[in-house]
């Protein structure tokens, strides 16, 4: 069994609104797979369906080798879910929350306590363990949430926007935790609206837009889909800008910003070539930046829209 998650033709609509329009996914065991898309793309619905929370309208779904429609309980036994909204019990302490999970996994009293303390330690919550979870900060709640997901040692973990709303420090901490999970052999399906997050963590990325997968591949493969890189040259005077436009006829001008975008693959050879031409013409360049295609370009390229406000690289 090499596919942890295998989905064909997944469809779901809520009333008139089509949320998922025929999705195919294949997630290999022991990898991080990211569903990337703006708000309303259908990411959360996909996670809810794959984690047995919501029934699909159509589609063949196998999770951890089990058919989701026929044996949802077997699927539930293999997965762990950390949703977008914190799934901790606010009226219980962090430690009690973890023991609750251990009890539901029938770990036994001794083992439950041992596992709870171990996870509190691992997730840097040892001190907070005695406090009610409702008093935790956003980052602490997320960590407790993930720790609770890990109590049953699931084979497959769903993380729905695990870092949304976290400050940069908490986000990096969460990333480290996620990487450690996969090092331990777990498969992770992660949704995110942050391109940087998918780029940082995921082995494979699927771009979801309006309920359709518009692109799928490794971060590198996706970047290849985007139009090539360019060199951005900014000038101080309109005269220099006009002159440069004549010297570099392939450049795309932006007269208002006095910026030229020169198509360039960013290699040393191409760069040296460009610099030589700038020197030959004695151009006064105020600023030079090399732009290699990133996932923002990919998103733009595959959805055909400028990245909306929701989709920003933080």
């Amino acid at each position: 069994m090499s596919a942890a998650i295998d989905v064909r033709g997944l469809r779901k609509s809520y009333g008139e609104k089509l949320v998922l329009d025929g999705i195919d996914l294949n997630v290999a065991e022991g990898t991080i797979f990211s569903l990337l898309g703006p708000n309303g793309a259908g990411k959360t619905t996909a996670v809810q369906i794959l984690s047995t929370l919501v029934a699909a309208d159509a589609g063949e779904i196998r999770v951890a080798g089990h058919d989701l429609h026929q044996s949802p309980e077997a699927v539930r036994g293999a997965i762990g879910v950390t949703g977008q909204f914190s799934a901790v019990d606010g009226l219980m302490t962090g430690r009690e929350n973890l023991i609750l999970m251990s009890d539901l996994h029938h770990l036994g009293k001794q083992e439950a306590r041992r596992r709870a303390d171990e996870l509190l330690e691992q997730f840097d919550l040892a001190e907070a363990g005695k406090k009610l979870a409702s008093t935790y900060s956003g980052g602490m709640k997320r960590r407790l949430d993930l720790a609770m997901t890990l109590v049953g040692s699931p084979q497959i973990i769903f993380l729905d926007e695990p870092t949304t709303g976290l400050d940069p420090r908490s986000r990096h901490r969460m990333w480290t935790l996620i990487r450690e999970l996969v090092a331990g052999g777990v498969t992770v399906l992660l949704t995110t609206q942050y391109l940087e997050e998918a780029d940082q963590l995921a082995d494979r990325i699927a771009v979801l837009d309006h309920g359709r997968l518009v692109a799928q591949g490794t971060a590198e493969e996706l970047k290849r889909l985007a139009p090539g890189g360019h060199i951005r040259l900014r000038f101080t005077s309109p005269e220099e800008f006009t002159l440069a436009g004549q010297v570099l006829p392939t450049a795309v001008p932006n007269p208002e910003a006095l910026v030229l975008q020169v198509p360039n693959d960013g290699s040393v050879h191409a760069l040296r070539d460009l610099l030589a031409r700038i020197d030959d013409a004695s151009l006064e360049v105020d600023e030079l930046t090399v732009h290699t295609p990133d996932l923002d370009d990919v998103f733009f390229a595959v959805t055909g829209q400028p990245k909306s406000e929701e989709v920003t690289a933080r």
Binding site: T52, F85, D89
Partner: protein, 266 residues
């Protein structure tokens, strides 16, 4: 955890019950209200209004002390008013991410709601004991045998289980906790007041009397009076009382479970 982990209903229900009891301990407002209200009712109607009611009914209700007449009805009122807190609690629970988590775990499916029901049954038992205690203090003198007490207890607990499932089903239909507390009002107010709790059926105006005669509380109160005080009763009332308890429980249980599983892969 292995994927073949077997579901263990009793263990999971026990875990959920412990969770609910801990909530009651951390957030005692709901359960304290459920405990205090019936005690206030028995004191108010037994001591303050009792004499007047009794006089209005022609010097004693059916020929025995008003407090004896009143207590069985107040016991039902405790059960009825106690249904509000699980309805609100279950509604609050559903809006929390933790229940979504439970739904994605391989735990005994009905355990989450059953934990709420059992938690409320325990609180209600305490409340019933308090009411009986205070009633005895102000003059309640049952002449029941141990067997009668046991039957009465079975009937009361049976009704508690039934009404709690029903109230939880109602709570699950509500979007907000406020809505949940309103939607159980017919159970917690209408049924106890429009029954023979305070006055015998014969003393009621005809329209209300018709309702009181056919609603579930009246035969249950009749059966309790028969068991605790030895008042005369048709055996059919006893069976009717038991049938009502079972019917309410069955409808409430299946309605609640289907609401809980709605839209998911059950």
């Amino acid at each position: 955890m292995s994927t073949t982990a077997t579901v263990r209903p009793m263990a999971d229900i026990g875990t959920m019950l412990r969770r609910n009891l801990r909530h009651a301990q951390r957030y005692p407002g709901l359960s304290l209200g459920a405990l205090g209200m019936p005690v206030i009712m028995i004191l108010l109607f037994g001591l303050v209004f009792g004499d007047t009611f009794s006089a209005g009914l022609g010097g004693g209700a059916n020929g025995f002390d008003y407090i004896d007449f009143l207590t069985p009805g107040i016991l039902l009122m405790s059960i009825a008013s106690g249904t509000m807190s699980p309805a609100v609690a279950v509604c609050m629970d559903m809006s929390e991410g933790i229940v979504a988590r439970f739904r994605t775990m391989a735990i005994f499916r009905p355990a989450v709601l059953t934990g709420h029901v059992l938690g409320n049954v325990l609180v209600t038992i305490v409340s019933l004991a308090l009411v009986v205690g205070f009633a005895v203090l102000i003059g309640f003198r049952p002449n029941a045998s141990v067997g009668d007490w046991l039957l009465a207890a079975v009937l009361l607990i049976g009704l508690t289980i039934g009404l709690t499932w029903f109230a939880i089903a109602l709570g699950l239909t509500s979007k907000t906790p406020e809505g949940a507390s309103n939607v159980v009002l017919p159970i917690s107010l209408l049924l106890p007041f429009l029954s023979n709790t305070f006055i015998p059926l014969e003393a009621m105006p005809s329209g209300i009397r018709w309702f009181a005669e056919y609603q579930p509380f009246t035969p249950i109160i009749d059966s309790l009076r028969h068991l605790l005080l030895g008042t005369p009763m048709d055996t059919s009332s006893g069976w009717l009382a038991a049938a009502w308890c079972v019917a309410i429980a069955v409808v409430g249980y299946f309605w609640a479970q289907s609401s809980y599983n709605k839209g998911t892969v059950a």
